[in-house]
Symmetry: C3
Subunit: 147 residues, 3 copies
């Protein structure tokens, strides 16, 4: 299938987090794509932080998200004698957790909707204990419905 | 180098898996790019699942892929008392393995071919024990040879 | 915001590494975007290797990068009895470290500059002990300032 014109759209999304864990941002992204009249193309989701990150994960059972949070704790335990320890015991583990998950995701868009599997949601993963404002950039490259 | 027109192509790929491990999908992707007349651009590979994932890895020694499968088992052991345990002992580890590998890959395309290193292959990584049909979406943004 | 024309630019970057650890390539990428007159769009950074990889990480305290190097060692220890062991004790761990970090990064570009957070840098992560020449491909899709 060839779609002739590739244009682009961009948007900034701010998410408030309150504790370590997963925030589902699928709906906000979907609403933006719909509002802007995205058609066929590719969406990039980018988080401008190194102690919070992104992942696409199971959206059905909240226990999966809790188990994923625990799994990240095991990969990056707080008790380890890190060199970088001036910003709190949750800071260096947060960078490690960010490194093994994703800072950027690129998701296909079909007929204006992310081509996610039925069980997939797009999540911001907060790795710090304190509340944070997290900045996410959305970039769509593709055709538009309203042209 | 500036290439004038950016167009797009998309395709759905279905891969049957039979057990945990790596399936090389490089050839199928390369054949599609060639058939469609892709030129210069960017290819996105996206898997619509959270218990199988994608990676670009060494394509020479099959032992590397076995060692990688084992490494994922160590990162996400089955024996752990996960909260989410109703879908089998391989299910929650599969989500963790998916989180630490990739759901989406973006690969440069040059003269119609993925600009992979000589030792790089594109792999679907199955994390579940039972056979599965896995859906992958390919999106190419770039110039076409046939225009 | 709609930006009309999407064009593309590409570039090859060669980085010499000397030991395991992080090399900041943010400046070289930024200089290329600036030289080429990139405007609004998306930048893909791709490394053509499976024993070195990419990540976006904290650019302020060098201790963070040392702790990240150690964290990768814990995820992929050298002492493990890997099947693939003919290329040195650092080789199979290098593939595992590559798998849990990134081979490709897609970064939004705004007004010709990567839309990174203030604490974010783009790093090549070398996982091998010996010096290596690492090949990175840059692909920009978007509008150009000089048209």
């Amino acid at each position: 299938m060839t779609v002739p014109a590739v244009q682009q759209l961009s948007h900034a999304l701010t998410i408030e987090t309150h504790a370590p864990g997963f925030t589902d941002i699928t709906g906000q992204i979907a609403a933006w794509l719909d509002d802007e009249g995205a058609g066929e193309g590719l969406l990039n989701v980018f988080i401008a932080h190194t102690s919070a990150s992104l992942t696409i994960q199971e959206n059905a059972d909240p226990d999966v998200l809790r188990d994923l949070t625990d799994a990240l704790e095991r990969i990056a335990p707080r008790g380890h004698p890190y060199r970088h320890n001036t910003e709190g015991s949750d800071d260096m583990p947060a960078h490690i957790k960010s490194m093994v998950t994703a800072t950027a995701l690129s998701i296909p868009v079909r007929q204006g909707r992310m081509a996610l599997g039925v069980w997939q949601g797009v999540y911001l993963v907060e790795h710090r204990d304190a509340p944070h404002r997290r900045e996410i950039t959305l970039t769509f490259l593709g055709s538009l419905r309203r042209e």
